[in-house]
Symmetry: C2
Subunit: 341 residues, 2 copies
């Protein structure tokens, strides 16, 4: 991503450290997030990141404080809560007024009239949610920001349009074309005299590039239902349990066999531990076979846990014809390392 000219949007000191380790320039990093800690803000200022997307007035006063301490003008965008509803899971809608995110328009007006010595308000950020599949909500957002700027006679240098683009999880998923998105957004922002447009494509880049591979432990055929019990569980991929998400799942080796419906479940002691329900699979699938859970590149490993005292799997990157281990398999020694009995 870095080699292709992208910057990074981080929401914690951990993510910021990761980006710096990966070689991103601090001047290509934006710090967003509704709950930035003082020490995180100070760390980011010391590292000279490009700007903060600010979520409330208190945060501005903390940034002002550290700007004064380090004698630096700090760039910020105000994250506006535009009260826009979008068609996505209610857990990942972020722009309704009753959500925790952003500054309501009236409060933003107040902030624009405040005086800061070390805070430089460059423009605005809005974020509508994740897994958004069409351009219309973004256009609506730009329109609201435009009216807001006109009303307040404020000319932003930066507009940061947030909200991860949707990716297809099924063959039926209709997703906007990225070219269409580009054209329509370019057209919509042409009245702004901005220097910089930031776009946050979210899971669009990594979501479909990752898969979770798991081994079949048991096949259980019952009167009421059939189960394929695999060695990956909700601790490895929590999306199905947490959001009711659908992931396509295939046998690693396709066979032209008679199909049967199975629930594909993990080894964890909860009925909520499943990867897919009522999936057609070859009826002769057996212990030792492998299954592939598609589109596990986003919100997969990053949300994984050690629930049931399970070790997390390794992460492997396939880069053209090179296969690289990018995260080692966990060991019990590292798992218990921080514990004291």
């Amino acid at each position: 991503m870095k080699d292709n000219g992208l910057g990074a949007d981080v929401v914690s000191e951990g993510e910021l450290r990761k980006c710096l380790m990966a070689g991103f320039s601090p001047s290509d990093i934006v710090f967003a997030g509704v709950g930035k800690k003082e020490e995180e803000i100070e760390f980011a200022i010391k590292k000279n990141i490009f700007c903060f997307n600010v979520e409330n007035e208190e945060e501005l006063s903390i940034i002002e404080k550290f700007g004064r301490k380090y004698r630096k003008k700090i760039n910020v965008n105000l994250r506006l809560n535009l009260n826009i509803d979008v068609d996505t899971h209610h857990y990942i809608k972020t722009a309704k007024s009753e959500n925790k995110f952003g500054i309501d328009i009236e409060d933003a007006e107040k902030i624009l009239n405040m005086k800061f010595d070390f805070v430089n308000i460059k423009g605005f950020h809005f974020h509508l949610g994740s897994q958004i599949k069409e351009v219309t909500p973004y256009l609506k957002g730009i329109e609201i920001v435009k009216n807001f700027c006109e009303k307040n006679n404020f000319s932003p240098e930066i507009i940061d349009i947030g909200g991860g683009f949707g990716i297809p999880y099924t063959y039926e998923d209709k997703i906007m074309l990225i070219e269409e998105f580009g054209e329509k957004i370019t057209d919509a922002i042409k009245d702004f005299k901005i220097n910089l447009l930031i776009i946050e494509p979210g899971r669009f880049i990594v979501g479909n590039s990752g898969v979770l591979i798991s081994k079949v432990l048991y096949v259980k055929k019952k009167k009421t239902k059939n189960f394929i019990i695999v060695d990956a569980g909700m601790n490895d991929l929590i999306r199905p349990s947490l959001y009711g998400s659908y992931h396509l799942i295939y046998p690693a080796y396709l066979k032209n066999e008679k199909k049967l419906k199975f629930d594909i479940v993990g080894p964890i002691c909860e009925t909520g531990d499943y990867l897919g329900k009522d999936r057609e699979f070859p009826s002769n699938i057996k212990r030792g076979d492998y299954i592939v859970v598609m589109s596990a590149g986003a919100y997969g490993f990053s949300m994984s846990s050690n629930y049931n005292t399970r070790l997390r799997p390794p992460e492997v990157l396939i880069d053209k014809n090179k296969i690289k281990l990018i995260r080692k398999r966990e060991k019990y020694s590292t798992l218990f390392n921080l514990e004291k009995i």
Copy 2:
């Protein structure tokens, strides 16, 4: 727990290792779980654990294989799926026939008639679900097992009654008295000529003994809603997001102030990241104050993740008047330790 004579019910090699590290005798350990790996079964047999709660026929053949390899008779209980519905969250019901768990009664009959050289079927296990608040479903379970034993002329040596006892999460929660449970169960099993009754109280022991303490980062009062943004999130305690669970939440220092309703939310970039909704809190709660999330002792830290590249908090044990750090706070170095760029 060990010092008070309890044994341990484990569902993974990790949990088994943890119990051995804590000093439990292998002869006090039962291995349950719907997806035991071959290497886990072999490890447990080498460690001479007391018995396995077996979930299907394939698992029996693996146990037989390792029994033969190590020339040992291995104790097992058959985990029966009794098709009993209980009044708990659908994710933690475990005894309906359409759940992945256990052996259906008809299949268990078949297994009782099979011949094993290294498997010793000692009795039966059933597990009804977690957070069960009354004794009736257990009595129903015992009744079904009794009929099953009579019909098959099988006299079990062990009955293992699973299903975590419910704990109160609110003041209104009506929970059975443990004494009443004891009396009724003792009465119900008196017709069995068993040597050993195993009871799995689940979260009953630890659930209410743990709290999650978190610091207030921001207080956000909006037209539509008020928010207390704290530094603990769904990565630290996922129960509210995952199960819609209710946890009581208090300010660490009680103040007799005018109350206001707040959503108590974490710093993670999801609307699903909340700890409590519409909670009455002192209206003057402010940055730097602490909040206490009650009943976080079970399914709290054990389900925690590093989502948003966040470090997990330390765990502290208060043992009468001694305060002991039992798990150190995570560091970025340990978090990135297994990664390679």
